[in-house]
């Protein structure tokens, strides 16, 4: 893995293409995070299985105890997360997990446990296809799919406005989503910090969900992979 990072960084230095810049940016962050994927997944399993509060022993796994039932979750995002009105909206896996962790574990900052749990869920879903809005063995709700389609369209416009000048969507989209293989960093956090122009897009915002709904829409049918899309893994080897 360390060698792979080094090669990825070299590739960045040689590349002059916009897509290469983004990919290189993804890989360059890896020094602090690389090699931590397995650790992150293990952390996530711990968060999933045990509540951090001694007086509130209900953990995620208490209710979601069927391993088969959660396998399809990672590939089903972004999707509409139903909540009390007016909060129902499209969310990424990380965003939905953070919302649930904040509520059920009563944590003020749910981001880090949510990152770990999302990694755990992504690892559980490896090999299943990416199907935004559609969860295996769950009904499909037309209203939710319409909301997701609207999210994709907002994401398309946002991408054109914020990202399109440097990165061709057709090149970037196949590399988007989930976690970055080399850095074990969720795409939402990377993109929040990647702001050559304009204000940041907060990792937990609807705008971020829209952006990733648009990008992941290009990857429908591909399998979920541990730690990121295949192209990123390929380059990092």
């Amino acid at each position: 893995m360390r060698l792979a990072r080094s090669r990825g960084g070299s590739a960045l230095a040689r590349s002059s293409r916009p897509a290469g810049v983004l990919l290189g940016a993804l890989l360059s962050v890896s020094a602090a995070w690389a090699g931590d994927w397995e650790t992150l997944v293990a952390d996530g399993e711990r968060w999933w299985s045990r509540s951090p509060a001694l007086d509130q022993p209900v953990a995620c796994a208490t209710c979601h105890h069927d391993p088969d039932a959660i396998r399809g979750w990672a590939g089903s995002f972004p999707k509409v997360r139903p909540m009390p009105p007016p909060y129902t909206r499209v969310m990424t896996l990380l965003q939905a997990t953070a919302e649930a962790v904040e509520r059920h574990y009563a944590l003020r900052d749910a981001r880090l446990p949510a990152v770990a749990i999302s990694a755990f869920l992504a690892a559980r879903g490896v090999g299943l296809p990416i199907t935004p809005g559609v969860t295996p063995d769950q009904p499909i709700f037309p209203t939710r799919m319409r909301a997701l389609a609207e999210s994709v369209e907002r994401g398309r416009r946002l991408y054109a406005r914020r990202c399109g000048a440097c990165h061709a969507a057709a090149t970037i989209a196949p590399r988007a989503g989930g976690f970055l293989r080399a850095t074990a960093e969720p795409m939402e956090l990377f993109l929040e910090g990647h702001r050559p122009a304009g204000p940041p897009i907060p990792w937990n915002s609807l705008a971020m969900a829209d952006l990733l709904a648009y990008l992941l829409g290009h990857r429908v049918g591909e399998p979920v992979t541990a730690g990121g899309p295949p192209e990123v893994q390929e380059v990092s080897r």
């Binding site: 007086d55 509130q56 022993p57 209900v58 208490t62 209710c63 105890h65 139903p82 909540m83 009390p84 009105p85 909060y87 129902t88 509520r103 059920h104 009563a106 769950q138 009904p139 499909i140 709700f141 209203t143 939710r144």
Partner: protein
């Protein structure tokens, strides 16, 4: 001014709760409720009409001792199904019912590992409104919560009509994700045609973390909750 607002809002509220749930029903939700060990569980199923967690409560049914329930619907579409059994964490589930079809559900409930965090129902009562000559009865529920994170699910269910209600909190709460106040929740029911029969009424409360009270049935005398072994 305050009195005028009360006069206006009460008839609206009564009108809302007086609508019958079942007529010419064709779409059906039915199912079985069990523990993880496969034991059938008696309890309560309550429905939201539309998207789950929208707090638009519609109907429900009792779950019998064999774990079976059946709810006839006026129309197909999306519903939020919430299943409760005493001693178990309630289970929410979004479903889509096809028109003129029966949806069969299999629900497994998980016991609450502790009851220390559960909301508590301290008292329940039925109070005819004398000024309306008994045409309106207030159903009141005194609710507490050790974690102070009550949500909108302070629920009443009339088994005679199949209607479910989220009871009105002691003070208005606009944000459904906010922690709801502890205190006396209430519901105004139309008793112009027949008096309220307390035997028909069931109550259950779940907080934001899914800690759930026992189902309180007639004679509505709360008992200390116990952990299911």
């Amino acid at each position: 001014m305050r009195r005028r607002a009360w006069v206006v809002t009460v008839p609206i509220w009564i009108g809302l709760v007086a609508v019958p749930v079942v007529s010419d029903a064709r779409s059906v939700i039915t199912g079985t409720v069990r523990s993880q060990a496969g034991q059938p569980l008696a309890g309560l199923v309550l429905l939201e009409k539309g998207e789950i967690h929208n707090n638009v409560w519609h109907g429900g049914a009792l779950v019998d001792a064999t774990g079976r329930f059946r709810i006839e619907l006026q129309a197909g579409g999306p519903y939020g199904v919430h299943v409760y059994a005493s001693g178990y964490i309630y289970a929410p589930q979004a479903v889509r019912v096809e028109s003129d079809k029966t949806l069969e559900l299999s629900v497994t409930l998980v016991p609450e590992p502790t009851r220390a965090n559960d909301p508590t129902i301290k008292r329940a009562g039925f109070f005819p409104w004398e000024a309306r000559q008994g045409k309106v009865t207030f159903v009141k529920l005194d609710v507490g919560d050790p974690n102070d994170d009550l949500g909108p699910q302070v629920m009443a269910f009339n088994a005679a009509t199949g209607q479910a209600y989220a009871m009105r909190p002691p003070r208005p709460v606009r944000d459904l994700k906010a922690n709801f106040p502890q205190g006396v929740y209430q519901l105004e029911i139309d008793t112009s045609r027949a008096p309220a029969n307390p035997r028909d009424w069931y109550f259950v409360v779940a907080d934001h973390q899914c800690n759930t009270t026992d189902i309180l049935s007639f004679p509505h005398e709360p008992k200390p909750p116990r952990v299911v072994q």
